[in-house]
């Protein structure tokens, strides 16, 4: 099986990685780069625990080959905060008590970040729809939805 050498940007940093053809982006992040914040919950594109941003768009990293990501710009949960300052979605999810076991949290944060990047003022329905691919078994989702709403209004406030 061929090994491919790829270069890509991860959390703002340039990376060069050797990946076998059948290695997923998720495996590459966790096993080659020790970025274990992104989680494996089902390896089938159903649970969303592996969600990362690829060129700004949320994607299940278990459903894309690493080799397909050559030249891409990846953001994982480790890359959401900047200079030690939490992203609004991270801040609000804490404040709303919307973190319990924390396993779904990285994927939720990425999906929320992606949503607010493309839709800065989402309705509750739009938030629920954007998160439908992120399964959570602990929180019951309501606080997560509130947290995303709150993050949206905080971002709006920062702009005005």
């Amino acid at each position: 099986m061929t090994i491919h050498q790829i270069t890509l940007t991860i959390n703002g940093g340039y990376e060069q990685v050797d990946v076998p053809a059948n290695m997923t982006l998720l495996q590459m992040l966790r096993d080659k780069l020790s970025l274990t914040g992104t989680k494996n919950g089902c390896n089938a594109g159903e649970c969303g625990a592996c969600t990362v941003l690829l060129d700004g768009e949320p994607i299940n990293s278990c459903m894309i080959l690493a080799v397909e990501c050559a030249g891409a710009d990846i953001v994982t949960v480790e890359g959401l905060a900047h200079d030690g300052v939490l992203d609004p979605v991270q801040q609000t999810i804490i404040e709303h008590g919307a973190v319990q076991c924390g396993f779904c949290t990285p994927g939720i944060l990425i999906s929320a970040r992606g949503l607010l990047d493309r839709n800065p003022n989402p309705s509750e329905d739009e938030i629920r729809e954007a998160l439908v691919g992120n399964l959570c078994r602990c929180t019951g989702y309501l606080r997560i939805i509130d947290a995303v709403k709150d993050a949206a209004s905080r971002q709006q406030a920062l702009l005005t």
Binding site: M1, E57, I59, M63, L65, E68, G133
Partner: protein, 300 residues
């Protein structure tokens, strides 16, 4: 096998052909051992489940035309095979001229999966549950296919032979999907009945499309396609003909819905029983027809 799912993908080679002809030739040469790769949402699941064991995945997302999405009022809509469903949903042209297609795409899985999933992949996977297939059928899509003998056009009707089976031959790659310009005052909807509120596979899916047509005796033409109730995505020509030939009134929708129910042939499976599916086909077809009619007559 007791356990089907493997922890990871089996070994394979990733091929990135430089041209469509290179891709078609490679696929033809490795028939049964090579597969075109678009979004991978079906391929990776089946490979991890041990159903497909191809040694070559041939990435066809970045070949000529596969990334394009454009609309021309006289020519219609062209969507490249590599265009992901989110792009289709977000396209202003699609929203304005083919809202049914956007609605169908939007019903698929989740936002993350739609960043990968493609309409072409949905079509080629040929699952009777394919959410976007009904819309493509009623919108009269044609596929541009590149094979070892070059390009040819394939209408979507007649494309499906059985679950997972299509008319495509070894070496064939779908490059673009083309939709004719929409008729005036068209309307349509896709009712997807899943177990959850959103994101499930359909237990039953009903796609309805309608537009005024002076060539029809009733003055209107409806197209009806059903998902998950037959071995293939099912176009209910009997119901379509009935509505074309009879004056449009609420009883006509009831009649058409009954024909849809008679035409479908669902099975009992983990998702639902045949009895329930038949009942839902009737009710949801009637509902979709009524709503579509309502929207259509408002636009006339």
């Amino acid at each position: 096998m007791t356990i089907n799912a493997h922890p990871e993908l089996p070994a394979f080679d990733y091929i990135r052909p430089a041209s469509l002809m290179e891709a078609s030739r490679f696929l033809a040469q490795h028939t049964g051992d090579a597969r075109p790769l678009l979004g991978g949402t079906d391929i990776f699941v089946r490979m991890r489940d041990g159903i497909w064991h191809d040694h070559y995945l041939v990435d066809v997302k970045r070949l000529d035309g596969s990334g394009e999405l454009y609309f021309d009022p006289t020519a219609g809509l062209t969507i490249g095979a590599g265009v992901n469903m989110n792009r289709v949903v977000a396209s202003p042209d699609v929203q304005q001229h083919y809202p049914l297609l956007a609605e169908a795409c939007r019903s698929v899985a989740s936002y993350q999966l739609r960043t990968r999933a493609t309409i072409a992949g949905n079509i080629c996977n040929a699952s009777p549950a394919g959410d976007t297939i009904g819309a493509c059928l009623v919108l009269e899509a044609t596929l541009m296919v590149h094979g070892i003998d070059g390009f040819r056009q394939v209408p979507l009707s007649g494309f499906f032979l059985g679950p997972g089976k299509t008319v495509l031959q070894p070496g064939d790659i779908v490059t673009t999907i083309h939709f004719p310009p929409p008729p005036k005052s068209h309307a349509g909807m896709y009712i997807k009945l899943g177990r959850n509120q959103k994101s499930d596979l359909s237990i039953v899916g009903v796609t309805v499309y309608g537009f005024p047509d002076s060539k029809a005796a009733s003055g209107y033409r409806f197209r009806i396609a059903l998902a998950s109730v037959a071995p293939v995505p099912l176009v209910v020509t009997a119901a379509e003909d009935y509505l074309a030939g009879n004056a449009i009134q609420p009883t006509a929708f009831k009649g058409a819905a009954r024909l849809a129910q008679e035409a479908c042939n669902p099975i009992d499976d983990v998702r639902g029983s045949a009895r329930y599916r038949k009942a839902m086909v009737q009710r949801l077809t009637e509902k979709a027809l009524a709503i579509t009619w309502d929207q259509m007559t408002k636009r006339e």
